[in-house]
């Protein structure tokens, strides 16, 4: 009985010792794990361009070779969804460490003080000559800079060489007059009069700001602009004028008078890649799309032509930024990562892998151009091109979208065909919509 009791007591002691030892090991392990966990850094990156995911992964792998304690988590969704996610997550402190987004949303975060100014080393890096002045200015708010440029959207004219040859045309059009003349020769109809191939694919239907954005590809060469900034820092429409009327007339002629495009036929990049259209104004990503869908397509890319012989060649440029969340707990690591991300070698990768053109200067594009010469006018645009861009305004998307709501109806409205007065009336109504949004935002002014 005593022995038993004693054994029992001994077992208890042993058990207690085991528990204590176990607890000690667990605690030590926990401390070690905790130290390790603290040493390891996980950066969460959100992107509105799912096609950039392989690029981010590739850069993250390269970065991990120099910083093995840093891992990257990626979340991607469509651009519109990402804008919504970020708009809800950033103010509530649940956002990522790093995100890429357009200026229209970024400016809202900046105004709400949810993004920090660039630290001195990042500021110096941005101004080091790695980007052109236009791009640096784009990321400058007052006296500070916010974010770094990741890529830039430039629209150019894609033209199908084989179709041009077939139509007896040896070179792409030099002005909008030639665009229409060439398009007439390139458009095809079947025996019933149904269009089977458009001469040029314009954005004629659907919804969203893209319709207005494409309209600007015509409006700007014609001499107009969507918004004019006044000396006092206010804005008013810049297209209730001859240029605006010419641009809308061009669209109406394309659809109704000259019939070189039709809302019913296939459109956009798909149409160009599959030979349903001869000309298209679009960004560099279409090159990547063509590689996937129809790699044998014989085509060229040139800047969108001037309106007429005396006009300038105008080209849109839309820098796209990458930002560090002002509430990130990994700010230093995040800045370090995006500096790495924008190095020339990675800048090359983004274009090579996705078709989107890096905004970085000093990149050796030779290998890319050797393989895909169509990139030339994107990565080495002509020096005489006059750039235009989107103003960095929180209500910019609303202006473009509200105008886009009306444009498709105007393109096909028979009342506008050959009726300059009606075209002028239509343009005036668009200008009113534009100015009303400005007034609503308290940003309207003419002086």
């Amino acid at each position: 009985m005593r022995a038993s009791k004693s054994r029992s007591a001994g077992l208890d002691r042993r058990a207690a010792l085991k528990v204590a030892a176990g607890a000690g090991i667990a605690a030590a392990g926990g401390i070690a794990m905790s130290k390790k966990a603290r040493a390891a850094t996980t950066l969460n990156i959100w992107t509105g361009y799912p096609e950039l995911v392989p690029y981010y992964k590739s850069v993250a792998e390269a970065y991990a070779k120099t910083k093995p304690d840093v891992t990257v988590n990626l979340l991607s969704s469509s651009l519109r969804e990402m804008e919504q996610k970020l708009s809800a997550a950033i103010p509530t402190g649940t956002g990522p460490d790093i995100f890429d987004i357009g200026s229209g949303i970024a400016i809202k975060f900046i105004q709400a003080k949810l993004l920090d100014n660039n630290p001195p080393d990042v500021d110096a890096y941005l101004k080091s000559g790695a980007w052109n002045k236009f791009t640096v200015d784009w990321f400058t708010q007052g006296s500070a800079t916010v974010g770094l440029p990741l890529l830039e959207g430039r629209a150019q004219m894609f033209w199908n060489r084989a179709m041009f040859r077939e139509a007896g045309l040896s070179a792409p059009p030099k002005d909008f007059g030639e665009i229409m003349a060439f398009a007439k020769k390139l458009t095809k109809f079947d025996a019933t009069g149904k269009m089977t191939r458009s001469g040029i694919s314009m954005r004629l239907s659907g919804q969203g700001s893209g319709i207005t954005e494409k309209f600007r590809f015509v409006l700007e060469p014609a001499g107009g602009t969507l918004l004019v900034k006044t000396a006092s820092g206010k804005y008013h429409n810049g297209f209730d004028n001859d240029a605006g009327r010419k641009a809308l007339q061009f669209y109406v002629d394309v659809v109704q008078k000259d019939k070189v495009d039709d809302p019913k036929v296939p459109h956009d990049a798909d149409a160009f890649a599959n030979g349903h259209t001869a000309m298209l104004f679009r960004e560099a990503w279409v090159i990547g799309d063509i590689k996937k869908k129809n790699p044998s397509l014989d085509y060229g890319v040139v800047p969108i032509p001037r309106w007429d012989a005396s006009g300038p060649v105008k080209g849109i440029i839309q820098p796209w930024g990458i930002y560090v969340n002002g509430r990130s707990r990994q700010k230093d690591a995040s800045w370090d990562f995006i500096k790495f991300l924008t190095q020339p070698a990675n800048a090359f990768q983004i274009t090579n892998m996705t078709g989107w053109v890096s905004a970085r200067q000093g990149v050796d594009w030779g290998p890319l151009l050797k393989e895909t010469p169509q990139f030339e006018s994107f990565v080495k645009p002509p020096q005489d091109i006059v750039l235009f861009s989107d103003p960095i305004l929180p209500f910019w998307d609303e202006i473009q979208t509200r105008i886009a709501d009306r444009l498709p109806g105007m393109f096909i409205d028979p009342a506008l065909n050959g009726n300059p007065a009606k075209v002028a009336e239509a343009i005036k109504s668009l200008a009113t919509i534009c100015d009303n949004v400005l007034k609503q935002a308290g940003a309207y002014g003419t002086a």
């Binding site: 809202k108 105004q111 709400a112 956009d268």
Partner: protein, 313 residues
Amino acid sequence: MAARVSESVRYWANEHFSRGNWRIVLFVYIVLAPVLLLFGYVRMVPIFESLILSFHKWDLINPIKPFIGWANYEELFQDENFWLSLKNTTIYAFSVVILSTLIAVPLAVFLAQKSRLSAIYQTIYFLPFITPMVPVSIAWKWIYDYNHGLLNYVLSVFGIPAVAWLTDPGIALYALIIMGVWKVVGYNMILLLVGIRNIPSTYVEAAAIDGASGFQRFRYVTLPLLRPILLYVFVTSSITAFNVFTQVYVMTLGSQSAPGQAVRVLVFDIYQNAFQYFRFGYASAEAVNLTLIVLGLTLIQFRIARNKEGMDG
């Protein structure tokens, strides 16, 4: 007045508690409490939040939300897009509710007859209702395609020229209505079928003995007894139809799609104002209006059904 209220409360208490069943009533409320609380949290609270938000100006990002009184409502009633979307939504909702019911009633009558194939037909008609809206919308976008769509192919077999179902602004809304009817007709049919099967056969048999024809039996026996189910179908279909969004969003995406303005509906307009323009106060004002419209329509439908019952009864 106070005496009347007191009398009513006493009557209610007597009805519920004096018979010794208060334990059952208490049990019922306790059992229902979690669901009611959840319903209140996920349904009622957002509605009241939206109501409050509709008097503020807020962009979701900026923490400052100034109170602006009725300004959102004043702007809303001058907004062309709001009136256009209200018009389109009304056309869509009334068309879908009326057409889907008109098709569902004869289908239900037909399938109520005992047949071995009845279950198969019910499944076939019900399938669209349970298929998620996004894939359905994408499929219909292909069906409506001008050049390679199934619908135009079928029309071509009969020598009918191709129709620009989506890209023609004058037709696009009707294309959505066709799809909307196709989506809900099976659901309405099932509800009506249940209603028909619950009608005691003695009524129909008595009418038959009295010499009523098949149509007369339907008109004077089946249809009046189906009224509660029809009311339910009208109410639920109207609410669903006024909330149309997904198919509009999908069918206006991309260059080869419906012009946004031709098919602009209320929820799409709310979505655009809230999640695209980030005007949450304004979008909330619009949402409040939608709620009031749907609520008003539901009350009208209830009132009509009650009056009809009174007249019949």
